[in-house]
Amino acid sequence: MDYEIETTMTLNGTQVTRRIAARTHLVDFLREEMGLTGSHAGCEHGVCGACTLRVNGDIVRGCLTLAVACNGKTIDTIEGVSDSGEAAEMQHAFHERNALQCGFCTPGMIMCAIDLVKNKPAAKREEIREYISGNYCRCTGYHAIVDAIEAVLISKQRLGGKS
């Protein structure tokens, strides 16, 4: 019944090819087929941001992106940016500041936060708050998350804006 399409993507630096049902969302493909359970399905209709991951360098909703639409594209998940060390500084700042509680929003929040560092390196608190508004956190009240991101930005600015 499910129409399947052969799809090739570069997933966390490794090329993978699978036959994927056309209706499968990227987050479901990653979780169910690839065992990458770090991206979380919180609302499955594009609001909460827990499934935030990167396609061709830009953050997207994994629950609104069809996996077969990623043919030929580069996908980065929380597991990838953790192993590469790309997210290490942000993860450390989150840890120190207790900018997570239950941790369910956290992978998406980290993906969004490192995207912010790339795109808005001089962001102030209000801009940080706006940038992460697409990622719901029900536990922290956001203050600690803003603090953690701000700390990373300030630290990078001290290093002369080099990333």
Partner: protein, 809 residues
């Protein structure tokens, strides 16, 4: 004893010499990690996306279930045709309520200490009639979730719609009765009267009266409810992976309703994506999932999608309250008079009941103040909406908002500044122990210290001056205050006395491992609050090891001591004390082994920094790893008849007081745009007293997160229903959860009044923020609207409601 005192020169972690509860009179201070902002060890895996949430687990032969739910708020099931669904691709089974009824016995959400509370029997799947939109009616099990959902769409039902009761006032009037066998729609009625209330109002110089309403809202844990039941027919055993807050409670309920011996049931809650009270109830779809695993003899998983979460996760807080306050002209509050009406849906939720929230409103209203007369009336009524039950800060936000709202109204009428009015009326800090008119007893609270601290960190006079100056420029800012009391660490008085199978006690097992590390097992559970982290801190401190030597395991009925889990802010106060006592016992037993190894008296030894030391000289004698090695691998070298006991368990339950009350006060600064009705939250302050602060970092974030949940209820969140009982905004796009951009920075501070009922001295800290934020916000908005002689009384405070209050729409 004396040798214990002599040693003051050894290096312990920084220990301020204050009246701390870990420091019994005459002993040297050793606070260790208590009071330290240590980051949580268990947060690291979550940061890398390497947690183990239930949906991350993989099982062979796993089947998935999707539920066909009632599209109507009240309707008779005339016909349910499952034939097409049964032959859909991948489908394993499709069942209705009759099939499941044979596997799972029904339940009733009543407790004997809530006198007169009533509810009908409830089944996993609706039988004959559905009573709310979203009630599960049929279950479709398939190889994959997508197949189950596809097949669910093939279930065909014929309905006969019945009259619905949506408004709680209609429910009370009772023209349409939802459960004929009960005769009316009243689930629970309670009255409380100290006497002399009418006399107090008659002699009062100032009487104020207000009516408030509170919108229904829900918890929206980002991880939806999930249960994975795995029945093993070979040994009649059941393993349930469940994101519950209370694994042992669920074990009891599964045993009772599936007739499986309790010892054959293991409930495991690994990482849980938020709880807030949502995940501590009996849900029909979850019970049905267990039944399906038993029927099909294979693991079956149910994950609520967000849309069905919105109509099946418990709702809370739908209240209409009338409150009156009497005061004399000197500004002393004489009496409160409360009338609370709340709608709980068609069933009282099992096993905690849906009467508790209203009961709490009665217990807590007026709670911080020293009046003597109090009268209250509560009606909790059935309606054809989703069920309501205990959600974070149960009843507190209602009680605090009506109390603090009417207190402000009285202050304004008397021409007294709200801060000064509170000072005159808050129970004095030296008046404890104190029995409040509702009968509850407070051991020791600190309302005045907290208020003083709050006004200091807010710089209250400067804010008032700024407010006055800005008003002249047409900028309308408001300052709101709210003092609150918070129920924490309850004894059996909360549930056990009423017959609920919920442990008030909790236990902790501590074990010295061979390597000198310490393993902690505790019945309290973790949903992100940081309970595992504080248990680590307490254990490290009590035993004398460094924090990196401690591992904590919670959330598994097969390995942890029996306990109640996490609810009512009981983790630190009850679980923490159990860990402390267990840690002290383990330390004593370790010293027994060390004394035997060294052939010295035990009193000459202590454990500091993972090492056995001589207390008189400070000399390092043995690393703990050596104690472990000898105790386990070379016991032959120890004296004959000596047995090492390096695993110990201790338990704790509060006995002296029914509840370990905590307290706090919040301040809110908002700016109201009188043209658009928009409210900007500029800043929020909170001073809380949760007794001993074990980890300030974690307490602060509990407070902030709690405040933002309170703000959500006050400003945005409402489960909206139409007149047919259809929920109109059952998705996350339309149901507004606070986002970072709208939220203010939140300043926190602490007063520490340790409870003397435990050695640790900790009270709960999880609900203070949620309890007080709506009240503080409401008072701030109304303070801003004061020049317009306008007032908002109905939460959430939407721009439309602000404009209505201003007479502009």
């Amino acid at each position: 004893m004396s040798q214990d005192i002599v040693n003051s020169t050894t290096t312990t972690p920084v220990a301020p010499v204050v009246d701390r509860p870990l420091q019994a009179p005459g002993t040297r201070p050793q606070t260790g990690y208590i009071g330290k902002s240590e980051p949580r060890a268990n947060a690291k895996r979550l940061l890398q996306g390497r947690g183990s949430y239930t949906d991350d687990l993989r099982f062979p032969r796993l089947a998935q279930v999707a539920y066909f739910r009632s599209p109507h708020a009240h309707a008779k099931i005339k016909k349910l045709d499952l034939s097409k669904a049964r032959v859909a691709p991948g489908v394993i089974a499709v069942v209705d309520g009759y099939a499941v009824r044979d596997i799972c016995s029904p339940w009733m959400g009543v407790l004997s200490h809530l006198k007169g509370i009533r509810s009908p029997l409830q089944f996993p799947l609706a039988i004959e009639r559905a009573r709310w939109q979203g009630e599960p009616v049929a279950a479709v099990v398939a190889e994959t979730r997508a197949q189950a959902e596809d097949a669910r769409d093939l279930v065909e039902a014929e309905w006969e719609e019945l009259p619905v009761v949506v408004d709680m006032r209609d429910a009370l009037a009772g023209q349409t009765v939802i459960h004929e066998e009960l005769g009316d729609n009243i689930c629970f009625h309670r009255e409380l009267d100290t006497g002399e209330v009418d006399a107090a109002f008659a002699k009062a110089d100032c009487v104020v009266e207000e009516s408030y309403s509170f919108g229904r809202h829900t918890g929206v844990c980002l991880e939806p409810r999930i249960i994975l039941a795995d029945y093993n027919a070979g040994e009649h055993s059941l393993t349930v992976h469940h994101n519950t807050q209370s694994p042992h409670m669920m074990q009891q309920l599964f045993a009772k309703h599936f007739d499986i011996p309790e010892a054959n049931i293991q409930v495991i809650a690994k990482d849980v994506g938020g709880g807030f009270g949502i995940k501590v109830h009996t849900y029909p779809d979850e019970m049905c999932t267990v039944a399906l695993s038993i029927m099909l003899r294979r693991p079956v998983k149910f994950v609520a999608d967000r849309m069905e979460s919105m109509v099946s996760d418990i709702h809370a807080r739908e209240h209409r309250v009338k409150i009156r306050l009497a005061a004399d002209k000197a500004g002393n509050i004489l009496a409160f008079d409360l009338d609370d009406l709340t709608a709980i849906g068609p069933y009282s939720v099992y096993p905690r009941t849906s009467g508790i929230e209203g009961n709490q409103v009665v217990n807590l209203t007026g709670g911080p103040y020293k009046h003597k007369q109090y009268r209250a009336k509560l009606d909790a009524v059935f309606t054809n909406k989703n069920v309501t039950c205990q959600y974070r800060a149960v009843g507190h936000p209602i009680a605090a908002a009506v109390t603090e709202g009417i207190v402000d109204a009285a202050a304004i009428k008397l021409g007294i500044d709200p801060a000064e009015f509170r000072r005159r009326n808050l129970i004095r800090d030296d008046a404890y122990p104190y029995t409040f008119p509702s009968g509850i007893r407070f051991e020791k609270l600190s309302h005045h210290k907290c208020l003083d601290k709050l006004l200091e960190i807010m710089d209250y006079p400067a804010l008032r001056a700024e407010q006055a100056a800005l008003r002249k420029k047409g900028i309308h800012r408001g300052i709101g205050l709210a003092s609150i009391i918070e129920v924490t660490s309850p004894s059996a008085a909360f549930y056990g006395v009423g017959g609920a199978p919920i442990s008030a006690q909790d236990g902790a097992t501590l074990r010295l491992d061979v390597s000198g590390m310490v393993t902690v097992l505790c019945g309290v559970t973790e949903q992100g609050q940081g309970t595992d982290a504080i248990f680590g801190q307490i254990a490290a401190t009590a035993v004398g090891v460094s924090l990196d030597k401690v591992r904590v395991l919670t959330g598994d009925t097969r390995v942890t001591p029996y306990g109640g889990g996490t609810w009512a802010s009981r983790g630190a106060g009850i679980g923490g004390e159990a860990v402390l006592q267990s840690g002290k016992a383990l330390k004593s037993n370790i010293l027994d082994v060390a004394a035997a190894m060294l052939n010295v008296k035990k009193v000459t030894l202590d454990i500091i920094d993972n090492t056995i030391i001589d207390t008189t000289t400070g000399e390092k004698k043995l690393p703990l790893a050596e104690v472990g090695r000898v105790a386990y691998f070379r016991p032959d070298t120890l004296p004959m008849n000596f047995q090492s006991e390096l695993t110990v368990t201790r338990h704790f339950v509060p006995r002296e007081y029914a509840f370990t009350f905590a307290n706090g006060v919040q301040g809110s600064l908002v700016e109201v745009d009188p043209d658009t009705g928009f409210i900007k939250m500029l800043k929020h302050w909170c001073v809380g007293d949760c007794g001993t602060v074990i980890n300030p970092l974690l307490v602060d974030e509990q407070t902030r997160g709690g405040i933002v949940q309170g703000i959500g209820g006050a400003m945005f969140e409402e489960c909206m229903y139409d007149e047919r009982g259809q929920m109109l905004n059952a998705n996350l796009a339309d149901y507004l959860v606070p986002m970072s951009f709208e939220m203010p920075d939140i300043v926190t501070a602490h007063i520490e009044t340790p409870t003397k009922t435990s050695e640790l001295g900790a009270k709960g800290a999880g609900e203070n923020g949620t309890a007080g934020a709506p009240a503080a916000i409401m008072n701030a908005i109304n303070d801003a609207l004061l020049p317009f002689n306008a007032k908002v009384r109905d939460m959430p405070f939407t721009p439309e409601r602000v404009l209505k209050a201003l007479g502009k729409v």
